[in-house]
């Protein structure tokens, strides 16, 4: 083997390692700690100073993370500004990079820019519309509802109705509320009807809330669509006419828990003439991640043959809160969207493709490495061949990494409570319950209720 060739192999291995690695340090752990403490100002500052941790390939992810943190922090205008940038990137990301795709064939899925998932695009619209409502810009909130509608139409048209995620019962329901709030009752009816149709098919397997059906009934009555209202009452006898005299409606949107974390679940098999090493592990901690990768790479360096597969897997973040209510009120919250289940089911649906791609890539990389090492051994001797083989084994072990990119700042689920309240400023106490109906957390909130109008407030909750 010539000296130049050897240098080339070394450079290749090192550069591949650096290009494929995506070190975020302890950023996500710190972010999660701030969110768990509900210190969103701190989380937002941390994210603002950490754009470089995401890198240019993951800008979409950066903007949705920071947009959500700004939303949770009550910085609604700032949140919309971040989400608008995310929307722009999502549209631009329709055009996929061939070079990045090819590069990922030899490295891992992290080499491809994070293009964004359809449900992420839809939830940007949900949070943006809430941002506008909180600023009193109800008409702008409706623009978000129309954008969500366009997104679903596009997803359905592009896939000819076959896409796994192509509509969302909760998004339709929420946008119905947004339309109704701005006085677009006819649009609200369409949105509620679509919500009722979509909830049973939802990938999160969430049931259609009774309040949705009641909203549809009342919207029919508001437009004097009496026969439609009667038909709905026949099917759902519990619906009733809402009469808000000297009262307004309070809608509490509860962001409960933190979205599950996507982790790296890997399997490495290392062989030598005299031994066999097998490791099957789940990397759940950023500190552990580097140590695990270095340990696996070291074992790979001392092995004759190494093959490693890494797959992404969602791990839930512990949270005991399951529901909430207002002290002194009989109304209880309902789960309007189970975000965690939606994310898990979406990933599961594409697991077969991810597994096939990962296995093909690992086997392909192994065969190429073997071929090159054997050629070097034949031409330059056993010692040089062994060094090249070791370098490839180390590189292959380091390169293999699951795509663990996901939206970190969204909640585990979205709970809603709707209730009529007397007009004027009201101070309410929100009680949060665990699965045994024990109160485990309370929050006091001041709300301003306007007669015959909806007042939206967003409340987050998490308790380990």
């Amino acid at each position: 083997m010539t000296k130049t060739k050897f240098i080339f192999y070394v450079c290749f291995s090192v550069s591949v390692f650096f290009l494929s690695s995506c070190a975020t340090g302890r950023y996500y752990s710190q972010l999660r700690t701030s969110i768990e403490k509900e210190d969103y100002a701190q989380a937002l500052t941390l994210a603002e100073n950490s754009q470089s941790k995401y890198g240019d390939k993951n800008l979409f992810l950066y903007y949705i993370d920071i947009g959500m943190l700004a939303h949770l922090n009550g910085s609604y205008e700032q949140s919309n500004s971040y989400f608008e940038q995310a929307k722009q990137l999502y549209l631009e990301n329709y055009t996929k990079s061939i070079s990045a795709g090819l590069f990922s064939l030899f490295t891992n899925d992290n080499a491809v820019p994070y293009y964004g998932l359809p449900y992420e695009a839809a939830y940007i619209n949900v949070f943006c519309s809430l941002n506008y409502i909180m600023q009193g810009k109800n008409n702008e909130a409706v623009v978000e509802a129309r954008q969500a509608d366009n997104l679903f139409k596009k997803l359905q048209a592009d896939s000819q109705g076959k896409a796994f995620y192509q509509d969302d019962g909760f998004v339709r329901y929420f946008m119905g509320l947004v339309y109704e709030n701005a006085g677009y009752i006819n649009d609200a009816i369409i949105s509620y009807k679509l919500a009722l149709k979509t909830y049973p098919k939802s990938i999160s397997k969430t049931n259609a809330p009774r309040d949705l059906i009641n909203s549809l009934y009342n919207s029919y009555l508001a437009l004097s669509m009496t026969s439609e209202a009667q038909n709905l009452k026949q099917e759902y006898p519990f619906v009733e006419k809402t009469n808000l005299k000297n009262e307004g409606e309070l809608i509490i949107i509860n962001y409960n828990g933190i979205a599950p974390e996507k982790t790296d679940y890997f399997l490495q098999m290392s062989f030598d003439r005299a031994w066999f090493y097998y490791k099957n592990a789940e990397i759940t901690d950023e500190d552990k991640e580097q140590a695990d990768r270095i340990a696996s790479a070291t074992i790979a360096g001392f092995s004759k043959d190494v093959i490693k597969f890494s797959f992404p897997k969602f791990v839930r973040i512990p949270n005991s809160i399951v529901s909430f209510s207002i002290k002194g009120s009989s109304e209880k919250s309902f789960t309007a969207q189970d975000m965690a289940t939606m994310m898990e089911n979406y990933l599961s649906h594409y697991n077969t493709t991810i597994y096939a791609r990962t296995i093909a890539r690992a086997v392909g990389r192994y065969l190429i490495a073997k071929q090159i090492s054997n050629n070097v051994e034949k031409n330059s001797g056993e010692q040089t061949g062994s060094i090249v083989n070791a370098l490839f084994n180390v590189a292959n072990s380091l390169i293999e990494k699951a795509d663990t990119r996901s939206w970190h700042s969204i909640p585990e689920n979205i709970n809603i409570l709707r209730t009529a309240m007397n007009t004027g400023e009201q101070e309410i106490t929100v009680n949060f319950y665990d699965k045994n109906s024990n109160i485990i957390k309370t929050k006091n909130i001041k709300v301003q209720i306007t007669e015959n109008k909806k007042t939206f407030i967003a409340v987050s909750s998490i308790e380990k």
Binding site: Q88, T95, N139, E140, A157
Partner: protein, 199 residues
């Protein structure tokens, strides 16, 4: 091999330098630049100019002139954004006012918010300004017509292709009689195509 390594190094340096450069160029404000296909300044100006030209060429204008021997006084009401884009209707309203004023065929009355601000200033003058310079209350000019309207869109997308259809509707309502004296409509259709892959 040495040549190949040198080529790879040069290519990497070139890509690095290009990826880090930001270019800013001054362009003429009337130059038509379409980036995303969304509603932009060109659409706003185009629609405002065409619709105002249309409005003042219709019979209501001559009828008013004949009856009063003076230019109509117009106030701009709300232009509701019913589209699926966050359109700044304020800049569109300003474009409408500019087109109407520049035509020399109408005068404008300040909007509700502007009037409140001016009234506040007048109150302030009454208290603090020198007497001969104080402006009197009750001398405001009332508008004859209100211009109001809406912007609608229909978006149709398939794969990387999108058709955006904008429909702007404006109407002029007599403040005295509530009669609609003019209804104008301007449509813009855009086709936006995106390629699925890039190098």
């Amino acid at each position: 091999m040495k040549k190949l390594l040198m080529f790879v190094c040069l290519l990497s340096c070139g890509l690095f330098l290009f990826s880090c450069s930001t270019k800013v160029t001054r362009v003429d404000v009337d130059e038509q630049i379409d980036l995303s296909g969304n509603w932009n300044d060109t659409d706003s100006k185009l629609v405002a100019d065409e619709m105002i030209n249309d409005s003042i060429s219709r019979p209501w204008y001559d009828n008013f002139l004949k009856a009063t021997q003076k230019n109509p006084r117009i106030i701009v009401g709300t232009v509701v954004n019913k589209s699926d884009e966050h359109i700044n209707t304020e800049t569109f309203v300003n474009d409408l006012q500019r087109a109407l004023l520049n035509s020399g065929k109408a005068t404008f009355v300040a909007s509700k918010e502007q009037r409140d601000e001016i009234r506040e200033e007048r109150t302030d003058q009454a208290q603090f300004a020198a007497k001969p310079t104080v402006k009197q209350f009750g001398k405001e000019t009332g508008a004859d017509y209100m211009l109001r309207g809406q912007i609608n869109t229909i978006t149709d997308s398939l794969s990387g292709k999108t058709v955006k259809y904008y429909q702007v509707e404006l109407e002029l309502v007599s403040i005295e009689t509530n009669e609609k004296v003019w209804i104008g409509q301007k449509k813009i259709k855009k086709y936006v195509a995106k390629s699925k892959y890039k190098a």
